[in-house]
Symmetry: C2
Subunit: 344 residues, 2 copies
């Protein structure tokens, strides 16, 4: 029963050619006579031969999969990034291995270890470890990687990110323009660069409007989830001098907030205006559609993958061919109902 797996030599024997020719007919079809090739392919079909990636990879040293390590697939934003990456990778004939670090630096390190052993073609990573130390093995092994959704100044790595300072500024400028003077910022874990940048932008907008920093009241959260958004709503409503507008660090928080406010009978946007971040699909699918700062998620995935492949190609050439670059994309404010009402 247990037929031996058919290898390239079985095909060669059956087709009456050498293994080299069989290999060639796959990898440089032009260098082999058409009828020979046809004969070989027929045998391949008949025997059900499939080439062993591990053998190929051992010999050539290059794998056909790229890894993508995201913080959390439960956030549709990362799914969009993944889709962008998957599409471009597939176009290049590569597979994508999507993994979740769950924001845990140790999980991240584990996965990086797995990737180096696999000698993947490259790694796209949204870092959970702010120190960047867990990426060290990649550098040592010479595996190309691109940091996604975080700006890295280091000239030794490529990165694709979105200007979060501008994003935060856009959101709060918009709220200020609507007449709001007391604004809450429902944020997230302070160790995330994104969170800090968005606050910086928000504060810049506040300052530009001639208001004191206290005009922005920060309500930190641990998880940036819908549930955390609901919790934040309770805290917001408990505030003595309740803000009339809220800027949320992502749309999940904003959705949780909006729902909790609705349940509490607080009208959005009449009593409290809301601006979210990411512009996930669900932001526009609720009864009171969410104003949000859109990030070009799929585009980031696409670009990052392209840069990764470019870097991989450059590896073969002389040293120094590849110039690492930090691409910064611009966010865009998408205004919807949740923020369209002038305050008092």
């Amino acid at each position: 029963m247990a037929k031996k797996t058919v290898g390239i030599s079985d095909v060669a024997r059956e087709a009456g050619v050498s293994v080299g020719t069989v290999s060639n007919s796959f990898n440089r079809p032009d260098s082999v006579a058409p009828e020979t090739r046809a004969r070989i392919l027929a045998v391949v079909e008949r025997l059900g031969y499939v080439r062993s990636e591990s053998a190929r990879q051992l010999r050539t040293g290059t794998s056909r999969i790229v890894a993508l390590l995201v913080l959390d697939l439960a956030n549709p934003f990362f799914v969009d990034v993944a889709n962008g990456a998957e599409r471009t990778a597939r176009a290049a004939g590569l597979g994508v291995m999507v993994c979740t670090s769950a924001q845990s630096p140790s999980d991240e390190a584990d996965y990086i270890g797995l990737f180096t052993e696999q000698q993947v073609r490259g790694v796209l990573v949204i870092p959970a470890d702010p120190t960047g130390r867990s990426l060290e093995p990649l550098r040592r092994q010479g595996i190309p990687y691109v940091v996604v959704d975080r700006l890295v100044e280091d000239a030794e790595v490529c990165s694709v990110s979105v200007d979060d300072v501008t994003g935060g500024r856009l959101a709060v400028e918009h709220l200020l323009a609507q007449g709001h003077r007391r604004i809450a910022y429902i944020s997230g874990p302070a160790h995330l660069q994104q969170i800090r940048d968005r606050r910086t932008g928000a504060l810049a907008a506040v300052a530009a409007a001639g208001l004191p920093p206290e005009a922005l009241h920060e309500l930190p959260t641990a998880h940036m989830t819908i549930a955390a958004g609901r919790d934040a709503a309770a805290r917001l409503l408990g505030l003595a001098d309740r803000p009339t507008a809220v800027f949320c660090a992502n749309d999940l928080l904003a959705l949780g907030l909006e729902q909790a406010l609705y349940a509490a009978g607080v009208k959005v946007p009449e009593e409290v205006a809301i601006v979210g971040y990411d512009d996930i699909e669900f932001a526009s699918a609720v009864a009171v559609p969410l104003t949000s700062v859109r990030q070009p998620a799929a585009e980031m995935g696409r670009l990052a993958t392209q840069m990764l492949l470019a870097e991989g190609d450059a590896l073969g050439d002389e040293e120094g061919t590849h110039a690492h670059q930090a691409v910064v994309l611009q966010p865009e404010l998408v205004v919807r109902t949740s923020s369209l009402h002038r305050a008092g």
Copy 2:
């Protein structure tokens, strides 16, 4: 600069032992003297050695990654499945390669081809191709696979699914119990077994209530997305004898529907009651929380992975050790506001 990659033989030489001992100290630590092992590990550390998966895999024939092929990560339901699978796989020291077929049988076939070449440890697949033909290569190559989210009667494969007939029945029974007599079923592509099963269950409930099949008005959609839900709303409102309740084949459709109804000034649940399917997180996060049929998504991913690993283990043993099984889980109706109102 370009240091040769360090291999097991470099470690062996540096540590003054043979390659066999180095290999053993990784794979059967007990069979090597503690101090020898310590010395080897020190050298490994110093040289920054990482084992080559491709070489290992070539020799042993077994990979350390399992593949998961889902229809569409944009649907949080599949993300939950993926999370369940990823957790269990990681516990077993394996990586998961998550891929998206986008419901396209040809993409599915492509990916299956990639998986066979990679000789992955196993495949979890939510089939896009109803014929199951694209899975044939897996069987030929003897790669274990488990079909997820679809019942397969074939005694030759394992499957984990949810009883969709019951799910459909629960949903419509609930609406009937609320007094509704004209019910719409916003469905999806007819070639999906899930869609047909849910209709079957819905019709059974209608029949059990002594109503004619026409009491269930089907509105098919092509994509089962939020946008499709909005479209369906327009069609629903255009119906001559407008149903007072709607059963949606998934929550994305239901969310789109609910929003469009809200925008059209049709009150939910007073004028139209809604029941969705999947119970994704967003279903409970909107202003009028959605009644939905919950599927144990993460549990499916977990179970499927376990079955896959069990099957893989059995491969080593004598033939016939592994009994393929079709596990069917039960759905559960989660009642929320969107359906809680008695029809006129």
